[in-house]
Subunit: 216 residues, 2 copies
């Protein structure tokens, strides 16, 4: 089993966010030192992260902003468009639907489903919420690449089973449970409280007198 | 600078979630193998994670569910109550306010602020939304331990400056920017898209024929 360098991969969207800003402001070059200062992390960390893209830098100027954006998008497979369906149009689902950056990643949430009658038919950030019981009818001929699960823990496995039965193999799971899936299905589980645990781990270290500067 | 074992710490809330369930169902003992199977990660990973708590296990039965819960809560500093204020009552803020598990972590969001007139005065999951311009008046005598920033990127630095001026040193930052803070302030930044990057890194590996089983 090949271990992915998770912290490095998780930093990529932050680099992208910064690079998009720099591009908008007309800046042509960026150095690892610039990015390191912005993110408040050691220079060498940025250098190693960027090395994953295999983009050759310029000794004097660093990297061309445009080329670095393209290289990171390629690294993540975000140079091609990916489609997704989102199940569960509660607060968290709505937050994801309003997330502007997905567009820059060529990541398109094309349909939204919920089982609650007060959400079905509503429009959230321009997405009409469909009835979950219609999901097979609506998606069976062209299932999207990714299924996003934003339902409460109790319904998550059922939703996962439905998505998998539709041929969806990649699941982004925001529910609070680990899913039971066939070996060819890939699940990325998000644990909001994982960040709180990180914050407290840093607080504990700081309160015991250790230096824990640096975001991440 | 001491490097925290982020993946291990991020897994702690998932162990807790599982352990709370087991406790509710009356189960007294749990083994690393049980937790490993539930999370679909290697046994040795769970063993190393649990070793961080320094809780001695029983060779035959594993760990007492109750003791393991307490040990993890202690490890994270969640054995004591912590107070927080949340700024930005949009979809994401609302999702955090509805997050039941915080209670089990003794993490209390005690006040909620927003600057938008259509949110001020509303109640979200039992929390009244206060006017952000009143934050100094409301918090100056007893500032909470943690400030949670859920405002859009453009307002995040301003909100951070206000929180810091109130004496809040620990910030959980859900906005999409890196904050500029004094060295004694600790920031945990959450990047939702970081999870999407992880999902795609796994997809890319799978599509190139590599084995990437295991959540995380």
């Amino acid at each position: 089993m090949k271990i992915l360098n998770s912290p490095a991969i998780r930093r990529m969207p932050t680099y992208l966010h910064r690079l998009f800003r720099l591009r908008m402001s007309g800046q042509e070059w960026v150095s690892c030192a610039d990015l390191a200062q912005y993110m408040n992390i050691p220079h060498i960390v940025v250098r190693k992260d960027i090395a994953m893209t295999a983009l050759p830098g310029n000794k004097r100027h660093g990297f061309r902003v445009n080329e670095l954006i393209d290289a990171i998008l390629r690294l993540l497979g975000w140079d091609k468009t990916s489609s997704a369906t989102l199940i569960g149009a509660g607060s968290l689902g709505a937050a994801l639907l309003g997330f502007d950056d997905f567009q820059s990643y060529n990541f398109r949430i094309e349909s939204v489903f919920d089982s609650s009658s007060d959400k079905i038919g509503r429009s959230i950030h321009g997405h009409e919420v469909y009835d979950l019981t219609d999901i097979r009818k609506r998606l069976k001929f062209a299932p999207p690449k990714v299924g996003i699960i934003c339902v409460p823990a109790v319904g998550a496995q059922l939703v996962a089973d439905i998505l998998i039965s539709l041929g969806i193999k990649y699941i982004w799971n925001f529910s609070n449970v680990c899913l039971n899936v066939p070996p060819d299905v890939i699940v990325q589980r998000e644990v909001i409280a994982g960040g709180l645990a990180m914050l407290f781990a840093k607080i504990n270290k700081a309160e015991s007198g250790e230096n824990v500067s640096g975001e991440e």
